[in-house]
Amino acid sequence: MNPHLSGEQISKCLIGDGTPQETQHARDCAVCGAELARLESSFSQFRGSIRRWSDQEEHLSRVREVAAVNYENHLERLLIPASVDLPWYKGIVISVKELIHPPKLPPLEITSKPVKLASLRGLYGGHETTAGIGSVIVHVAVVALLLFAGTLKPVRQAMKEIVPIFAPDLKPLQPKPEQSKGGGGSPQQTAATKGELPKVAPKSFVPPIQTVQDPKLTVNPTIVAPELPNITAGNYGDPLGKLGIPSAGNGIGTGIGPGKGSGFGPGSGGGFGGAAYRIGGGVSAPVAVVKPEPEYSEEARKAKWQGAVLLSLVVDENGVPQDIKVIKSLGLGLDQKAIEAVQKWRFKPGQKDGKPVPVSANIEVNFRLL
């Protein structure tokens, strides 16, 4: 038999659950008694430490509560009132009831009175007037600066919207702008017939008439025109014209064609007519005066299609665009819309020597979705 108590037995003795023999042994045996006493002492220390801690905390909380003198009904006041402390389902029932039959509230009793507040003046240490005047001065100065900047020339120039109008590409065989003149035949009902162009001379003494009369002095008929591709024919006429009854065109003057003057083709003066002037070389560019915005086509709007249409046109002497052609297409109906818009445009015509002249130009019409 083990002369001493096991750990379990000592534990049992410690909690007062040991058998009488075990208790007796613990009392008699020095070793077991010492072990038990040691454990009890430890527990006693533990108990003491807890009590001390608790007393300290208790003391601290007493110190904190020392201000609370009136203890009457303090527990009652801590309790939530019965009217508030309701179960959740009762709360829902009451809410629904109040939703259907909203309870009539007693008339509102106004228990507060308006109070006159102290003036805010003085909050900023008496600098209110200075600050106010300073603020006004700063604002006026900024506005004046903006207005002044608006009157400056570069700014006004920049504010003007500039329509991109530029000269079309030069074609190699086109006559030079200085030679861009026309001529007109003696007034006849039909257009100039196809035929051999008369000799080109600086001055026309004898017009190229189709009905030859007996001349006193034979002078070959000439026109004032640049060198042009000539054709061999039995009569004088427009080398670009059509075959038919001989005619010098329905223009006015001594030339050939529908124009006016001693040259050839449409237009006036001498030279080769029909072509408009081009910008540069003494010819000023036309300026758009009225320019309605182009409309967007429905398809392009749906497709969110953007870009630019390049148009070529001739601005005549009256500033009306003529002969509008699409050079760079955008598609989706935007070309047509661009042409429609540019047809409504009106220009200040381009000028040469102070006179309005027809000028050919290219215009880029931008389509942008905002």
């Binding site: 430890s42 807890i50 001390r52 801690w53 527990l75």
Partner: protein, 192 residues
């Protein structure tokens, strides 16, 4: 055991007195230290212990009509406190992020709580080590074991009282207490 050293237990053992519940303020005054101590030892958290002490008396006040005098007032209050501890443990099990904080009682403070300072420094250091070991062991106990252990060795209740407080049978109390003491003993031996 040092039962004689616990004079504050004496009035509790007297049994219910009808006038005592009427004069609730004096009841609070008398029982509050004990309830607070138990809660403090159980939770190791002063604020939680104070709140639960408050709750304990609140519950007692609300249910004072239901007290039939089947046990002593002290036991009844301690029963409420033990239930509160159990609820608190269940709640804090959900609040797992608070657990670390709760067990983080600074054991260096234990020295300030040592009962008598007349001992020699060696004895004091030894006692301090033992107390720390018991604290640690108690903290690792399950909630039931800790409650039973504290009621037995801090509040000096006997097994029947503990059974009444915890609502367990005496045999169950014995089992829990035995396991708790075994754990604490192992803790003490490990600490040596």
């Amino acid at each position: 055991m040092e039962k004689g050293l616990l004079p504050e237990l004496a009035p509790v053992a007297e049994g219910p007195c009808p006038g005592e519940l009427q004069d609730f303020d004096s009841l609070v005054q008398r029982h509050r230290p004990r309830i607070f101590r138990f809660l403090l030892a159980s939770l190791r958290d002063r604020e939680a212990a104070e709140n639960l002490t408050q709750d304990c008396f609140m519950r007692a006040y609300k249910a004072r009509d239901q007290f039939r005098g089947g046990s002593s007032l002290g036991t009844w209050l301690m029963h409420i406190a033990a239930n509160l501890v159990r609820d608190h443990e269940a709640n804090s099990r959900l609040k797992f992020w608070k657990r670390k904080l709760r067990y983080d009682v600074d054991l260096n403070d234990v020295g300030d709580w040592m009962p008598d300072h007349q001992k020699s420094p060696e004895a004091l250091a030894l006692a301090r080590e033992q107390v720390e070991a018991i604290w640690r062991a108690a903290a690792s106990l399950s909630e039931r074991q800790r409650t039973v252990f504290l009621l037995r060795f801090v509040e000096d209740m006997d097994l029947l009282e503990i059974a009444a407080v915890t609502g367990m049978k005496e045999g169950t109390v014995k089992t829990h207490l035995f396991r708790a003491v075994q754990s604490v003993r192992f803790g003490l031996e490990e600490g040596k």
